[in-house]
């Protein structure tokens, strides 16, 4: 009986085990494959516009639109040349715009890091009456979109005296940098991160005779690399992409940033026409450096975002 049972079970086992093994293997194989397909699909969704932009930057306008009905739109085929890039340099002072944007963005990041980290340090470490109210007010400003503040801010920067004694800050680099140094989100990020650093370190430093600035400079900031990296990136991108504010406050061509330059290619009804190939070339020229920077620091960025608790 037992033999029969054993044989029977053995038979069952022989017949079932391979099937079960196959199903298990299939499951193990299926999941990563589906994930990979999803990733590739997402790569296409997010990557195709970039590929289209770069590929189109080498094509004449009529071909860009002629290729739209097929995959040729994403392929470097047909009549390719550097004409659009040459056209860009003939139409806008690209180097000036690029230098302006680099200067404005880096200044905003560096000075913003100082201002916001100091503000967050004060809120996190120095106890004072109304501390929570100040934090609440800082956080409340997060819900106010910039567009609603643009006109009052314009009035303000046009009213206050400038460094040279003249009235108003319009048409300067400073007006493109200083209003964006203090940033509620950056303060909150630093505040959160500083709060996670043990206060015992401060106490030990105080015993050794360190003051608040020494604690900020020698203890808290060196331990806040991920938060610094996150704030730097989140400050850099809007500074680089700034468009509405420069339109409002900068009139001189020599002070304009790169994003305003894209309007130079959208000239209607006066013989110049819209140069889509040149727009693509210009967009590539201002996107690729930032993209390369992001790719180069991708790992550090992801690590810093993960450890500083920034989500979505």
């Amino acid at each position: 009986m037992s033999t029969v049972t054993s044989d029977h079970l053995g038979h069952v086992a022989d017949t079932v085990r391979p099937e079960s093994h196959t199903a298990g293997e299939r499951r193990a194989w299926l999941r990563p494959t589906l994930v990979m397909i999803l990733r590739i699909a997402l790569c296409f969704v997010f990557g195709l516009p970039l590929i289209f932009m770069i590929v189109s930057s080498f094509k004449p306008d009529t071909q860009i639109f002629g290729d739209l009905d097929s995959w040729a739109a994403f392929l470097p085929v047909g009549s390719l040349s550097m004409d659009n890039y040459t056209g860009v340099f003939g139409r806008v002072p690209f180097a000036t715009f690029m230098i302006n944007s680099v200067f404005i963005s880096i200044s905003t990041v560096v000075l913003g890091l100082l201002v916001n980290s100091m503000a967050a340090f004060a809120l996190s470490r120095i106890e004072f009456r109304g501390q929570k109210v100040v934090i609440g007010i800082v956080l409340a400003t997060l819900i106010v979109p910039f567009e609603t503040m643009a006109l009052p801010l314009l009035w303000w920067v046009n009213t206050i005296p400038y460094f040279d004694g003249s009235q108003g800050w319009l048409d300067t680099y400073a007006v493109q940098i200083i209003p964006f140094l203090a940033n509620a989100f950056s303060i909150y990020l630093f505040y959160q991160y500083f709060d996670s650093i043990p206060k015992e370190l401060d106490e030990a430093a105080t015993v050794d005779g360190a003051g608040w600035f020494r604690i900020y400079r020698s203890i808290v900031m060196p331990l806040s690399g991920p938060a610094i990296a996150t704030v730097a990136i989140l400050t850099f991108l809007p500074a680089w992409n700034s468009y509405l504010w420069p339109l409002m406050v900068v009139q001189s061509e020599e002070l304009r940033p790169v994003m305003v330059g894209i309007d130079y290619f959208k000239q209607m009804g006066s013989g110049a026409g819209v140069s889509w190939g040149q727009i693509m070339a210009y967009a590539s020229m201002i996107t690729v450096p930032v993209l390369a920077l992001f790719v180069a620091f991708q790992k550090a960025f992801i690590n810093s975002v993960a450890s500083s608790g920034v989500k979505g």
Partner: protein, 434 residues
């Protein structure tokens, strides 16, 4: 590692601060609109929308250079802005009371900017401007605020070969297509399957194109954007039977497959690539269309849908601001720059319609019987100005929204009734811009 990062950040901060202190304090010159120099020469700033248009910018600069060389009392300085964001820059400057002395203005905005106090009236130029095309002299309440060197004209672009193949006549300025002729032609082209679309009306474009490009058909049906007898209401003209007939036609153009519901960003390129047989566009397509099709190209006048054809009027015009410290200087420049030779120069360099007969005779192609004379004839015969009321920007955006909704399938009567209500409310809320 972190210590090194901190040091790097600190060093960069220091370097940036130093650079900042040196460079950031520099001010651009464009906001100092009128500064008197020790020698007595007064500087007048001039803003133009031509930063991305080297041809027109060079033409304007040459006029300015000749003016500066002609006298020593004033020096005009040009500051160019990109067209796409020019209006925002001007409005922001007005809010900051930093308008330039002389500026160019898109004609439909003149009434609004005059009402808002940005623009000052042009005086003492009536004789000169009487020779200009009416559509290039921007007025509000009977007062002139700006004049332009040129106009542009809307046109149906196609080829003689296409018209011959589908048995349609080549229309002339005096004998445009009737609505029936036009729709019969579109039907033949559509039924042939030779083209993806029989027509392309550039429905993918945005902004001012919608009232500029499509209100002429509304007018050709007998409707209008506002009752022009007193500019107080749109009731009866934007939602009457004729306006609803236009709306039904406009919607059917997309619904019945005669034109794309949303064109590509460059419908002219699609036309050149053979995707459409007729293109609703402007005289600015003349050069590339001639390059592509040579003598085969046809620039047809607007279709007569029962009330005569119509095209929009008015392009970029020149005026001066109320904040200009030297009204005499601004008027002196505007008079100097209005000469026929400058009209001819700018029109030639931009390939647009010269505003005076004398200038037209100097621009190859625009002389009577020239290859581009058709645009001047269309402009003279069919121009219906966009309503010269300060409420126009609101009317334009309201009409745009209504037309887009109608094209997307909204009920024409309900949509136009709502547009009329919105326009009337806005006119009333602003006390009819008195």
């Amino acid at each position: 590692m972190l210590k090194r990062t901190a040091k790097l950040v600190a060093a960069t901060a220091l370097a940036a601060s130093l650079t900042f202190s040196l460079a950031a304090c520099a001010k651009g010159g464009a906001t100092s609109t009128q500064a008197a120099t020790p020698g007595g020469t007064q500087t007048l700033s001039l803003w133009t929308h031509n930063a991305g248009n080297k041809g027109e910018l060079a033409a304007i600069q040459s006029v300015v250079d000749e003016y500066n060389a002609s006298q020593t009392n004033y020096k005009v300085e040009v500051q160019a802005f990109p067209q796409d964001s020019y209006n925002q820059s001007v409005v922001a400057a007005a809010a900051a009371k930093k308008l330039p002395c002389i500026l160019d203005i898109d004609q439909p905005n003149v009434a609004n900017w005059a009402w808002a106090g940005y623009l000052a009236p042009i005086e003492g130029m009536d004789d000169i401007l009487s020779k200009y095309l009416p559509s290039t002299v921007a007025k509000w309440n009977g007062t002139t605020y700006a004049y332009g060197y040129y106009d542009v004209a809307l046109t149906w672009v196609t080829t003689k070969s296409i018209l011959k193949k589908y048995g349609a006549r080549v229309p002339t300025v005096d004998q445009p297509w009737t609505g029936e002729e036009f729709m019969a032609l579109l039907k033949k082209i559509k039924d042939s399957g030779d083209f993806k679309y029989a027509a392309d009306m550039a429905t993918g474009w945005t902004g001012e194109w919608w009232p500029y490009g499509y209100s002429p058909q509304l007018q050709a049906f007998g409707g209008d954007l506002i009752n022009r007898s007193d500019y107080k209401t749109a009731d009866g003209v934007l939602n009457g039977d004729k306006a609803i007939a236009w709306a039904n036609w406009f919607a059917s153009m997309a619904k019945d497959g005669y034109m794309p519901k949303k064109s590509s960003a460059d419908p002219a390129a699609d036309f050149y690539n053979g995707k459409s047989a007729l293109l609703w566009n402007g005289s600015w397509t003349a050069l590339p269309a001639r390059e592509k099709f040579g003598d085969d190209v046809v620039f047809a006048p607007p279709v007569d849908f029962g009330n005569g054809g119509a095209v929009g009027g008015g392009s970029w015009t020149w005026g001066y601001s109320t904040g200009c410290a030297s009204k005499e200087g601004a008027l002196d420049y505007l008079k100097f720059a209005s000469a026929d030779k400058y009209v001819a120069k700018v029109a030639k360099d931009t390939n647009n319609i010269p505003t005076t007969d004398a200038a037209a005779a100097m621009v190859p192609g625009f002389e009577p019987g020239g290859t581009s004379d058709v645009f001047r004839q269309i402009s003279k015969k069919y121009t219906v100005m966009r309503p010269e009321t300060p409420g126009y920007p609101f009317i334009a955006t309201t009409f745009t929204k209504a037309a887009q909704d109608i094209l997307a399938g909204a009920d024409p009567k309900t949509t136009l009734d709502q547009a009329v209500k919105d326009i009337d409310d806005n006119q009333k809320a602003n006390n009819y811009f008195q």
